[in-house]
Amino acid sequence: MAIKGMVKFDIEMCKGCELCIDACPQKSLQLSPLINAQGYHYVVLIQDNCTGCTNCALVCPDAVITVYRENRKKEKVSVARISGVTENITVTIDDKSAVGPEAGA
């Protein structure tokens, strides 16, 4: 069963640039027919199949996306450190774990 994730958008900060829509491997994002106070159509999640891959959040110019993912391994999530720089750096996953929906785009 695929890992479950969820995304939250700060809809007032979204500018409807659609880059996240293009980046989502699940094709689960779409512009809302509604507009925010700035006049932009903001992004919404349209299917319940988000895997928390963070592709959308990484590519979002305005950093409006927060991503959640279930942690089945119950391990502490670590972040990159300034020493011991290795090739496999991402924002979310410890470099020892091989799992991860990071195969996006």
């Binding site: 969820m6 999640l45 950093a63």
Partner: protein
């Protein structure tokens, strides 16, 4: 179920937050156009500063151009330089505060037109700071004029018939020039148009701060970027155009990498 109909607390039950807006960005909405590469570059750069835990020890130097307001968005001590002079300002800041992390952030006019001398000489001296260079082949802030990096044939407000060699000369590949100087330690070209590109840029910036800590010399990171407004395209169209037209002349990859 969509995110705006489902209660968030229920939706994320059993999940943890794996990505959020870094604290090193202020709460201010970016004034940049939708899909602008500056926004993404700010976001990625500040994310790296946040992850490395160096917010308290980082000083930035902002340029003149669309990103003249970078200091409103980056939650670090920061100086606004005169047009083109960020490399000189950063030189001084780093020499006065050698144990802090210093970066300059510039566009194509700031770094490769009016700032060419300061850029070349800071690189030549091997000044120990990071240069982040956003190359979108146009002057956005002043309304879409030609940049030194504008492609041949590209139409801008000061090359309305398209750039020609006879009148405007060749596009300037400044990263290639800088890579030839022995004072530069790491010169690379990246982009921010896809998640893979963003992940790659994060690695590159992380490495660059590490090299700065090790006092290796100047690190130069060019970010080939789109300007949807200046190019008169949607953000998605602009990214596609960038890949098809800018990447052949400005190919992503390392121009000079340490062994």
């Amino acid at each position: 179920m969509t995110a705006d109909t489902l209660d968030l607390e229920t939706a994320v039950e059993g999940m943890e937050c794996v990505y959020e807006r870094p604290e090193t960005l202020t709460d201010m909405r970016f004034h940049y156009c939708p899909g602008c590469g500056h926004s993404t570059a700010h976001h990625v750069l500040m994310e790296v500063v946040d992850e490395l835990g160096i917010q308290e020890n980082t000083i930035g130097v902002a340029p003149v151009g669309c990103s003249v307001f970078a200091y409103q968005y980056m939650n670090i001590d920061i100086q606004e330089a005169a047009h083109g002079r960020a490399a000189a300002v950063a030189t001084a800041v780093k020499r006065v505060l050698p144990d802090k992390y210093v970066f300059s952030y510039q566009g194509d006019g700031d770094l490769a037109a009016i700032g060419t001398a300061e850029t070349i000489h800071a690189a030549n001296r091997g000044e120990n700071f990071l240069v982040v260079f956003i190359n979108n082949a146009i002057y956005g802030m002043t309304g879409g004029q030609m940049a030194p990096t504008t492609l041949l044939g590209m139409k801008t407000s000061t090359s309305p018939a398209g750039r020609t060699v006879e009148t405007e000369g060749f596009p300037l590949k400044i990263a290639d020039i800088v890579a030839m100087l022995p004072g530069t330690y790491y010169v690379t070209r990246q982009s921010v148009h896809s998640p893979t590109a963003v992940r790659q840029l994060k690695k590159v910036l992380t490495k660059s701060f590490q090299y700065q800590k090790e006092k290796k010399g100047l690190c130069f990171v060019e970010v080939v970027s789109s300007c949807p407004s200046g190019w008169k395209m949607t953000p998605l169209q602009a990214n596609k155009w960038m890949v098809e037209n800018m990447f052949p002349l400005y190919p992503p990859g390392d121009l000079k990498a340490p062994k």
